[in-house]
């Protein structure tokens, strides 16, 4: 045992004393914060300048004016009108030749950037499903606001057509949208943003830790192989002790990192308290859900170990970083796929494929944590299917980890002393069979 301890201490200090460790502690959250908040921040604070449109109408008469006037009331964040329309160009339905000619002129204007777009009201717009905009831009925020305004005007028109006459002001208030607010059984409010934020953060931390430290582990094995330290090492300790010592030493370094993040995060959370945006605060509180947090730590510990055995095995059979790339591909995929699935997962977290992936030991650490973050269970309730699945998933992972350690130890034992040529898969199978 004391030999493993010596290796653990060595590997731990090797990592923690490096400048890159400190850098990682500071840089990774910063990077994460930037990648999450920056786009949102930019979106919120970027004003769309006034857009120059040509307004074309086909026989909608006053309704076209009404729509135009309503849209002219839209303002940018700098309090100037959002649209600049000029006068309405009116065409009759039968006037195909004139319209075609004008349309090609307008298309050119849009193409050349002299106007931002053309808004076309086709005949009988009140009964239509959509109106057409010809534009090169796609400013979703402006278009959504325009949509809402136009809908209000058209709703009033439709009511008028159904012989209900109301002033458009009261119509606006009568036809306003209703928001659905999701509240958990314990009364905490949930939203897509906070849920997505939570699962993203968890999966990200999981990925970064497992992947970064896995590569460190792999490199250290490769280095000890290429510098021929390995032969001295295995004359003092068994390859199994060496492997375990390395994995545990690195795990402890990773936990140190998580602990420091936790302390810093917690400190920030309670010191800034109410001074920051409620949505962000809510997201952070959602993130600190104790049940999710505890499960996350378990998945991190076991997942870290499981993947470490893979990285150790790869390190032991290759002779250089470059050679390891082929083996890295499947490991990277196992992590990238859950990230690609994340958006779908938010609406399908109970789908059978999601459950299957959260039980499969190699995707479990990311998928199961994501599902837990989404479900955000507030108590450790065994009747909750997510809790049950998480527990089963942990058991499967643990069993797999034990099996993988056994398998890797056998590959490692022979691999670390094989220099020169990389073994083929059949050779590796032979190592595993041989005692």
């Amino acid at each position: 045992m004391s030999k493993i301890n010596t290796i653990i201490k060595h590997e731990y200090l090797e990592i923690v004393q490096k400048k890159s460790f400190l850098l990682g502690i500071l840089a990774i959250p910063l990077l994460m914060a930037v990648s999450i908040f920056l786009p949102a921040l930019i979106m919120e604070n970027t004003s769309s300048p006034t857009q120059k449109y040509t307004f074309v109408d086909f026989e909608n008469g006053d309704l076209a004016d009404e729509i135009k006037d309503e849209l002219l009331r839209l303002q940018t964040s700098d309090s100037v009108p959002q649209f600049d329309f000029g006068s309405i160009e009116r065409f009759s339905q039968d006037d195909v030749t004139n319209w075609e000619r004008r349309k090609s002129e307008l298309n050119d204007l849009v193409q050349n950037g002299e106007i931002d777009g053309v808004m076309i009201l086709y005949p009988d717009i009140a009964r239509a499903e959509s109106l057409i905009v010809i534009s090169k831009k796609f400013d979703i925020k402006v278009l959504r606001r325009a949509e809402r305004r136009i809908t209000t005007v058209l709703s009033a028109e439709r009511l008028r057509l159904a012989n209900v006459n109301l002033p458009s002001d009261s119509l606006a208030s009568l036809t306003r949208r209703v928001d659905i607010e999701v509240v958990s059984p314990a009364g905490k409010s949930k939203s897509f943003e906070t849920a997505f934020f939570g699962m993203f953060i968890y999966a990200m931390i999981m990925f970064m830790l497992i992947f970064n430290y896995g590569q460190v582990l792999m490199r250290s094995v490769i280095e000890e192989k290429t510098t021929r330290i390995m032969e001295v090492m295995v004359s003092s300790v068994s390859p199994f002790q060496l492997m375990m010592g390395k994995i545990i030493g690195l795990s402890l370094a990773a936990y140190t990192q998580v602990a420091i993040w936790g302390i810093i995060g917690g400190a920030i959370r309670y010191s800034v308290g109410g001074t920051i945006n409620a949505t962000i605060l809510n997201s952070i509180d959602n993130l600190l859900n104790p049940v999710v947090l505890v499960f996350f730590l378990f998945f991190l510990v076991i997942g870290f170990f499981l993947f470490s055995t893979l990285f150790a095995a790869v390190g032991s059979i290759v002779n250089s970083d470059k050679e390891s790339q082929n083996f890295m591909m499947p490991i990277v995929m196992v992590f990238v796929i859950p990230f690609m699935l994340a958006p779908v997962l938010t609406s399908a977290s109970e789908a059978s494929w999601a459950i299957a992936l959260s039980l499969f030991p190699f995707t479990a650490p990311s998928i199961m944590t994501m599902r837990l973050a989404l479900a955000a269970p507030e108590s450790f309730n065994l009747a909750d299917p997510v809790i049950i699945q998480a527990l089963i998933s942990l058991v499967i992972m643990t069993v797999t980890t034990v099996g993988m350690s056994w398998l890797t130890a056998r590959i490692f034992r022979i691999g670390v002393l094989m220099y020169g040529k990389r073994p083929t898969l059949p050779e590796i199978f032979r190592w595993v069979r041989k005692t």
Partner: protein, 316 residues
């Protein structure tokens, strides 16, 4: 002193078709300096790796004090592999301590003991330097320190002298004698026969995976008798080679070594030599290990293989 300190019994090891070690046995007495000699590829490293439990023998047993070696052997041995390295980024004192701790070595006086060894190996100012800052020769001395720092009962050194400069060879050699004086047993392999001859009290000769002979150096040499003369003279070496008393001649840069035919009168050769040449040295000696090796292995003198061995013999 235990006569059967480390014992190898009928060890064999094959790699696929190639048999690296064939039915090899040897007995290393306690407190001896035991040399395994043979050309490159003779099976020395494979044998040592089997002793170290780095590879498993196909058949045979390895015993320490009469019992099968086990995990505890790892703490009692100091091993310096032929291809060796150290953690480049670590400080010298940390490397020494780390590797000693892996041997579960305990002491209250780490600093003093580290300084003692650094001083002994003339690495005095290197305590806090990183390994990568040391020259190659210094790194080799450091490797030797890490091999013996934990006071092992047995020290196994594979191709100890490869790459060491003469000054460092002297340092290491003296340390080895000190270790033996302290009760340690030393087993080392080398293809440099000259060196082995100066250090060992026991030898085993290996060629093509098989033992050719072993025993106390003095006994081995005595077996071959004093039938060799070392000659330094100003004439044509061909004269000695063609002389009726001479079986074969080996030419070294500063002298020639002639093995005499069995029963030949060496005085006859001397008389014929002084008749025509100025002879500055003529000494009847025991054959060198190199000569014994050539003879036992049945290698033709002046063949390619013998030249490689001679290079080893001269490469001191």
């Amino acid at each position: 002193m235990n006569k059967n300190f480390l014992e190898l019994r009928n060890i064999s090891k094959s790699y696929g078709e190639k048999q690296a070690v064939k039915d090899f046995s040897m007995t290393v007495p306690e407190g001896s300096i035991y040399g395994m000699i043979g050309p490159n590829g003779a099976g020395k490293t494979t044998t040592i790796r089997m002793i170290m439990d780095i590879i498993a023998p196909d058949t045979g047993q390895i015993l320490l004090r009469g019992t099968q070696v086990d995990e505890s052997f790892k703490n009692r041995v100091g091993y310096l592999p032929e291809e060796r390295g150290l953690h480049k980024k670590m400080k010298i004192k940390d490397v020494i301590r780390f590797l000693a701790e892996l041997k579960e070595y305990k002491t209250q006086a780490w600093d003093e003991e580290i300084d003692f060894w650094l001083d002994k190996m003339s690495l005095n100012d290197c305590r806090d330097k990183k390994v990568e800052e040391l020259s190659k020769g210094m790194q080799q001395k450091l490797q030797f320190i890490t091999t013996v720092f934990h006071k092992p009962e047995i020290v196994i050194l594979d191709e100890l002298f490869s790459g060491l400069d003469p000054l460092n060879i002297e340092l290491v050699k003296n340390s080895i004698f000190d270790l033996r004086a302290g009760g340690a047993t030393i087993l080392f392999s080398t293809h440099v026969m000259e060196q082995a001859e100066k250090m060992c009290d026991h030898i085993v000769m290996i060629n093509e995976g098989q033992k050719m002979l072993d025993g106390e150096l003095a006994t081995v040499k005595a077996q071959f008798g004093k039938n060799t003369v070392q000659i330094v003279f100003d004439g044509d070496p061909g004269f000695v080679e063609k002389h009726s008393t001479v079986a074969r001649v080996l030419t070294f840069p500063s002298y020639i070594e002639a093995k005499l035919n069995d029963g030949a009168d060496h005085m006859q050769l001397l008389r014929d030599l002084v008749a025509n040449n100025s002879v500055s040295k003529y000494e009847l000696v025991e054959p060198s290990l190199y000569n014994i090796f050539i003879e036992t292995a049945g290698i033709a003198p002046n063949s390619e293989q013998s030249e490689i061995l001679k290079e080893g013999a001269l490469n001191v």
